[in-house]
Subunit: 201 residues, 2 copies
């Protein structure tokens, strides 16, 4: 009865999006779709985890077969959202999550009106700054650039379907799942269910 949903998930860098996704996808009803790129893997990057590292020809053939939802070129490399695995997992009834930044997400909005758009925000920019600083891996310049970027991205949240605050991880994950569950109870999708209930007399 529960059909899998296509979910587009965005959040500013430093908001804890990665940790949220990891936690959400421990649940077998969720599948995280990894982006594809033609660039070389960096040190420590794992194929199928950070990206699907594919050749230019493979990338092109995904576009040609209509299996690339959206893509962009950056520093002579192609980055995109392949749909082959997405379709496979949706068919199994899984909720498939795409992690896409705001501009790409807005493109997908037009292409896939069936998708559900969720945006996660930090409790405040102050807290975002604290988290970025706590990582201890970013220079002051990078931290300031990310905060400036977050300030630009956050207003886009109002164009999504749902906005979740990532204050306490467990709560944010619970809220994310509540949203997906609630969507499956929408009356506008209940025709088949109601027919079943009445038929079964």
């Amino acid at each position: 009865m529960n059909k899998g949903r296509l979910i587009v998930f965005s959040a500013p860098s430093g908001c804890g999006k990665g940790t949220m996704l990891k936690e959400i996808c421990r649940d077998d009803n969720y599948y995280f779709s990894v982006s594809a790129t033609t660039r070389e893997p960096r040190n420590g990057e794992v194929d199928g985890v950070n990206y699907r590292f594919i050749t230019h020809d493979e990338f092109m053939s995904l576009i040609d077969s209509g299996n690339m939802l959206e893509y962009a070129e950056y520093c002579s490399n192609l980055y995109g959202t392949p749909l082959d695995k997405v379709k496979e997992e949706l068919a199994k009834g899984k909720n498939v999550i795409l992690e896409i930044e705001v501009v790409g997400a807005m493109k997908v909005r037009e292409l896939r009106p069936d998708a559900l758009f969720i945006f996660a925000v930090p409790p405040s920019l102050k807290e975002l700054e604290r988290r970025l600083r706590d990582r201890g891996t970013e220079t002051e310049e990078v931290i300031q650039a990310r905060i400036a970027k977050a300030k630009e991205e956050i207003p886009y949240a109002s164009k999504y379907d749902y906005v979740i605050v990532n204050d306490v991880l467990e709560k944010a994950v619970e809220d994310f799942k509540a949203v997906i569950n609630a969507e499956s109870f929408k009356a506008e999708n209940s025709a088949e269910l109601l027919e079943e209930v009445i038929k079964n007399a």
Copy 2:
């Protein structure tokens, strides 16, 4: 931040609506609004639990002050949904549940577009029949009349916002709450939140 929602809840008789409401309202964030009537309490009925038993004058003064959401006369007695307590509890941030049958609910739909409409269905009419029979208190005639009524009411569910199946009580209660939570994350209500996040730099 979480504002209380006005919730209109309907379900066919025998669907376990009463048990669901009892379970939901154990949570302090929920308040169940009791209907008012001018009829005399029957044996075992408790004022403020089954109904608010009020005089004709009190009923009329609630209508005159705009504090009766909807009402109807039945066998020379008035039945209605008083708003005085509802407003009080909403102001406290509670989610207030009104239990109204389908025709009354559709009237409220026009009067209160801010309200959230939830309909609970049994897994099947066969299961509804089994539950009515298991009570052991209803005559065969009453059971058949209730099933016929349920068959009439269930198609109205598509005019509500959400449809929840009451198969396993705990799951139905969880689903009900997931819907209310998810509503509070809707992006269309996020303007204030987003402003707060960005302001707090």
